[in-house]
Subunit: 414 residues, 2 copies
């Protein structure tokens, strides 16, 4: 017997048939002798409609009222799923964020979970009842008002609930059937990973493998919640995201990620004096512009070239800001390039193995791909390359690190 | 300065434009120096969709989960209206039933309001904020679960809130602009009543004038809440439902109501012995069959003919039940007729005036309309006639009691 939190996203509960299907899945876990709690999102499309109404009334709407409106999406789903479960003989009851309560801070629209009292939920699960919990929402207790956690927050709810009820596992049902060594649309021979560490998942999530929301992986890591990613539509095991101690055979490289969402900015011939980096990046941080990769080469003439990446959507704002700061910073030229892709090689085995980066550089060189920027972390090597070479680079690296599976796996393209 | 509760139904908040329109109306009351609270229904159509989902999943769904689902309709509206009000510079905040709380009993799907704590609402109104309150919903405090008051319950919410905040008036905005002496679709010269007593409104509501829900009129009468019925779409005074002491010039007859929702049942040659009525009506009450008009004529031979009306939709069940009880009751024949209409003349002035009934009988006789059953109460005379004569009878009585206005009033046909 295990205690399991099952989480189903919007496409898994998009209509009554799918809700009935989810109920059957839950029933199977219950009949296997497990204690089960379920966390659900709004029916696909529902949240978008609710958000649109708020925006149409006022682009600058009160976030507290926005939360009142959008939280209804999940409320509808929990009631319907509870009915669907009862109809097939499973004892179930719905729980809204304020009823548990899932206590959050007061940052309406993007609240952070502060605490969840699992007592009542555990009590009900022990009695054989399935709590059906609204994802995405919480309660700001000071003013007794509904909060929401921001888009994709249902994954976060599920992990937080799993921690609160001390679940053995948090199963995230989604439209892919697990975490792959890379995007199978680019590399058909990508393999599903049976196990992956939190740290790797975090790097993969933040560099473009959109299986799990970054904040929910962070929380799982912090609270040591074992997370399984699996398919809503097929009945087979998924990928388990766990502590690295649980991974017996640690591969050097677990996966190849890519992102086309960044743009490169270069400041040419910046005077090479102490504090110049703070001078460049301070105003950008103040303007809420996230900077990712940063490299700086010292030239011979007392100047330096400084290159970094920003979110592609932020490029116009970044350019504008830097042009205004030109005299202040004292650079000679501002060069930007949105036609870049970031390719990352991720693996906890890197910590103890040398040569991972050089394998990467060689594989790319062999295909004639020029590397523009390099940055490394403990478990990741990232390079910036021309965007047109994205697929070629991903495939070359997948092969170079021996990740190719024997053949194209059968999978569900969500 | 007055304290006013404004209530807007589903058609008044059917889309964003109408919600903006409601916001303007509220703003005008605020700018006139009043303290205002608003009670709203779900956007027209929303509740039907939510109810259908529950019914499709299971005709016998859990009423507690049904309430979770359908209560979202009002929750959406309060958030949107609060945003719309803020956008035009009116300080507003939404309130769900559980936040106030509006405490109800545990009869999910048709709960009764037990108490409303008006303290917080009054506090906010004094500070100049407009509470935007979800109609139709409440909280069952024992289990901390959402309840709903049953269809049309938003009127009830509005009256209950008005009582709780000691409002000077509860304005019910609807798709008609007031209470008329009769249905203006039948009598174009029907007049809008400036004032009508609770008792009269109650008789008119229960006999087919569907302007206000019966339970909300009962509550208004009990709590002495002055209710105004007025149009959402036009800007003019409506009809005031008040204590009869507030009506200076009491007309003998205030209005003519009709209902085509009843059917007549006659038991011929029932043995005339003590307790026979209980014998007939006991089992019907037990089967939840509402009986309305009852007349009994004693015959010469120790038998009696017993006639009564039931809801037309209940007629098959009533027939079935009575046929099974035939030996027990000992009647000779069961005759039913669904082709009947009930016409009622209502007025508090009747108490002190004779001749109201005979005016009615004469007016109908003059048109050759046969009266099948008569029943009277302190402020009402009702007759059952063949359904084809409904319009003719209503028009004849409207004229006979001098209710015709000078010409067809301009009005909004909802």
């Amino acid at each position: 017997m295990a205690r399991i939190v099952m989480k189903f996203g919007g496409t898994s509960v998009a209509d009554l048939d799918r809700i009935r299907n989810v109920a059957q899945r839950v029933k199977r876990e219950v009949e296997a002798g497990n204690e089960v709690a379920v966390v659900v999102s709004a029916m696909a499309g529902a949240t978008n409609q609710l958000v649109k109404w708020c925006s149409d009334l006022s682009p600058l709407h009160d976030a507290r009222e926005y939360d009142v409106v959008v939280a209804t999406g999940e409320q509808v789903t929990i009631g319907l799923l509870a009915i669907a479960l009862q109809t097939i003989g499973v004892d179930a009851r719905s729980w809204q964020g304020w009823q548990i309560p899932i206590v959050t801070d007061a940052a309406h629209g993007k609240a952070r979970v502060e605490s969840i009292d699992g007592t009542l939920l555990i009590e009900r699960m022990r009695e054989g009842q399935v709590p059906v919990i609204a994802g995405f929402q919480g309660l700001e207790p000071g003013r007794n008002r509904i909060t929401t956690l921001g888009r994709g927050g249902s994954d976060l709810s599920a992990v937080a609930v799993a921690a609160a009820v001390k679940a053995d596992r948090c199963d995230i049902y989604t439209d892919v059937d697990g975490v792959y060594t890379t995007d199978p649309r680019i590399v058909p021979r990508a393999k599903k990973l049976e196990r992956i560490s939190y740290e790797e998942m975090l790097e993969l999530a933040s560099v473009g493998a959109k299986v799990l929301q970054t904040r929910s992986v962070e929380l799982a890591m912090k609270q040591r919640v074992r997370v399984q990613v699996l398919s809503s539509f097929e009945d087979k095991p998924g990928s388990l995201v766990v502590d690295e101690d649980e991974i017996v055979e640690q591969p050097i490289v677990s996966g190849i990620a890519y992102s086309r969402d960044e743009a490169k900015v270069t400041l040419r011939r910046v005077p090479d004096r102490p504090g110049i980096a703070a001078h460049v990046f301070g105003p950008m941080a103040a303007a809420n512009l996230n900077v990712d990769m940063i490299v700086q080469n010292i030239g011979a003439d007392g100047t330096t070239d400084m290159t970094f990446t920003v979110g592609r959507a932020d490029l116009p704002r970044a350019k504008d800001l830097l042009e205004k700061q030109r005299a202040d910073i004292g650079y000679e030229a501002l060069v930007t390039d949105a036609e870049v892709a970031k390719i990352s090689v991720v693996g906890i085995g890197m910590r103890t193995h040398a040569g991972v980066a050089s394998t990467m550089f060689k594989a790319l060189a062999d295909k004639g791909i020029n590397i523009q920027v390099i940055s490394t972390s403990e478990i990741k090597v990232s390079v910036l390359i021309p965007v047109d070479y994205t697929e070629l680079a991903v495939r070359a690296l997948h092969t170079a690190y021996g990740l190719d599976g024997p053949e194209a796996p059968t999978r569900n393209e969500g």
